[in-house]
């Protein structure tokens, strides 16, 4: 089920005016920042559907900026996030994209700094709840109901086993897992939703495992 907690319905505590267009947008921005692992220096943000039509009125623009700056939904600096981003030299460009998308509240963020970049697509499904549907060209479905780790790796035999072995050793149970690759032997992505939170020392251990390129964690 999409919604499994009463606090998905009674909540979040947030700065107005819209749970899907403001709080949800802030959460997608924050997820992008967390996956990037640091504050980006630039962001190109494509808005689709209702997001594209009403983003100024709903504060979707400052909320996405607030998320990229690491603000939680209830942060009262939210409505000033565009100015704060400017002060912190985070350059953001908004693009009203007329392409058709499956969900009316869809946003694509391409963020980066001098060394790295990352591209994610998020949807805001209502009441502040969001899903990440694409990461660096890989389709995925992250509900945000559970803690999750995303692992970019090289498509080689043993890569998956080396990860699951470490998780088993730490008694972490996998609730859902997806593996996606661009082509045989190329870059691939593991998405693992776990029942327990994965502590940072375990992440470090995973990073050292065979064929692993990059790891990010999302806490539900």
């Amino acid at each position: 089920m999409k919604y499994n907690s009463v606090f998905d319905i009674i909540g979040p505590v947030m700065v107005g005016p819209s749970s899907s267009h403001t709080a949800g947008a802030a959460r997608i921005g924050l997820a992008a920042r967390n996956l990037f692992g640091k504050q980006p220096k630039w962001a190109k943000i494509h808005l689709y559907g209702s997001f594209a039509k009403t983003y100024q009125g709903h504060g979707t623009d400052f909320a996405l900026a607030g998320g990229l700056l690491g603000f939680p939904t209830e942060d009262t600096r939210m409505s000033k996030a565009l100015e704060i981003a400017k002060d912190e030299e985070l350059h953001i460009e908004f693009i009203e994209d007329s392409a058709k998308t499956d969900h009316p509240n869809t946003v694509r963020l391409i963020i980066g700094d001098d060394e790295d970049s990352l591209e994610i697509v998020g949807i805001s499904i209502g009441g502040g709840k969001v899903e990440i549907t694409e990461l660096n060209g890989f389709a995925l479905r992250l509900s945000g109901n559970h803690p999750a780790i995303l692992i970019m790796h090289n498509d080689r035999f043993g890569a998956i086993a080396s990860v699951t072995k470490i998780l088993a050793k730490h008694e972490i149970n996998i609730g859902h897992m997806e593996v996606n690759r661009k082509d045989v032997g190329k870059e691939a992505l593991m998405v693992i939703e776990t029942d327990q939170n994965v502590e940072d020392d375990i992440l470090l251990e995973l990073k050292e495992a065979d064929h692993i390129i990059q790891i990010a964690k999302i806490v539900s």
Binding site: F7, I10, V13, S19, S50, G127
Partner: protein, 291 residues
């Protein structure tokens, strides 16, 4: 886990529990938390709601100037007159509108289930409180009961205007509030379901047509309508009136209606009130562009 209102009511009846208690136990189970933690989290939400109503009664104004100040006007009117719709009713309406005015002014609110509809559940709670004198625990339970019904709607239909129109937002919020009022007033779980169904039935087809795409016009006043209807339906259910169409089927109807709604009436700011001469004029005045 309950998936439908029928399942929710059945669990409550079979185990002789309040709807709120079914929700609390499920939350503890899903999140692997103890009762105190779950209560503390809801208490925090309740405090945010109280603060928002308090702030609104000091008078707030949105950046655009389109909304704000109506909650104060209504409270003043109530002090100086005998309101035709009754004190409790108008108190609920003013507190619902006040919460939404704070939301429009980019203040801090608790989404219930969304920000645009955030006034209805707290507005009715704080008005009904004056008459029923609930304990703090009962006030927190009010939110769990509302949340239990909201979960069913979210999982079987939608709670966002972009997906299903205003019926999914203020419609759901009003229906959730009806169910919670019934429990607080001592009604049965089935009566909560009847109240929920009767409110949602009256909200079916309501479109999301925000002027200039802002969560202001008509959102603030729709929170007034949603909270008034919530009180009426709760009374109907407590009087023993039942919905001829079962609650889950009303939710199903809401879903199908939302699927048939054109996108111009689902939070794009293109149709309905947004597309009136005044709606277009306001948009141009605020953003300097025409529709």
């Amino acid at each position: 886990m309950f998936r439908t209102v029928q399942e929710l009511v059945e669990i409550a009846e079979k185990e002789n529990l309040l709807i709120s208690e079914v929700m609390i136990r499920q939350e503890m189970d899903v999140k692997n938390k103890i009762r105190e933690e779950v209560f503390a989290e809801m208490e925090r939400n309740l405090q945010v709601m109280e603060k928002a109503v308090e702030d609104s009664l000091k008078g707030v104004q949105s950046v655009t100037g389109l909304t704000g100040g109506d909650a104060v006007k209504i409270q003043t009117y109530m002090r100086e007159n005998t309101p035709l719709s009754g004190h409790l009713m108008l108190d609920a309406v003013s507190k619902a509108m006040g919460t939404n005015e704070v939301n429009a002014a980019m203040g801090v609110i608790c989404a219930t289930p969304t920000a645009g509809s955030a006034g209805v559940v707290p507005g009715t709670l704080f008005a009904v409180k004056e008459q029923l004198h609930p304990t703090r625990e009962q006030m927190i339970r009010y939110l769990f009961t509302a949340g239990a019904f909201g979960l069913v709607v979210a999982n079987n239909a939608f709670i966002s205007g972009a997906a299903g129109g205003c019926q999914a937002e203020v419609g759901s919020a009003g229906a959730m509030a009806s169910a919670a009022i019934v429990e607080m007033a001592g009604g049965t779980p089935q009566q909560s379901a009847e109240a929920f169904a009767m409110t949602l039935k009256n909200m079916l087809g309501l479109v999301c047509d925000p002027v200039a795409g802002l969560v202001e016009v008509p959102c603030v006043k729709r929170n007034a309508g949603g909270s008034a209807l919530a009180v009426v339906s709760a009374d109907l259910a407590l009087a023993g009136v039942t919905s001829r169409i079962p609650c889950d089927e009303v939710i199903g109807a809401m879903y199908r209606i939302g699927r048939q709604m054109p996108s111009s009436l689902r939070e794009t700011g293109e149709g309905g009130l947004a597309d009136t001469p005044t709606g277009r004029f306001l948009k141009e005045k605020i953003f300097g562009t025409t529709v």
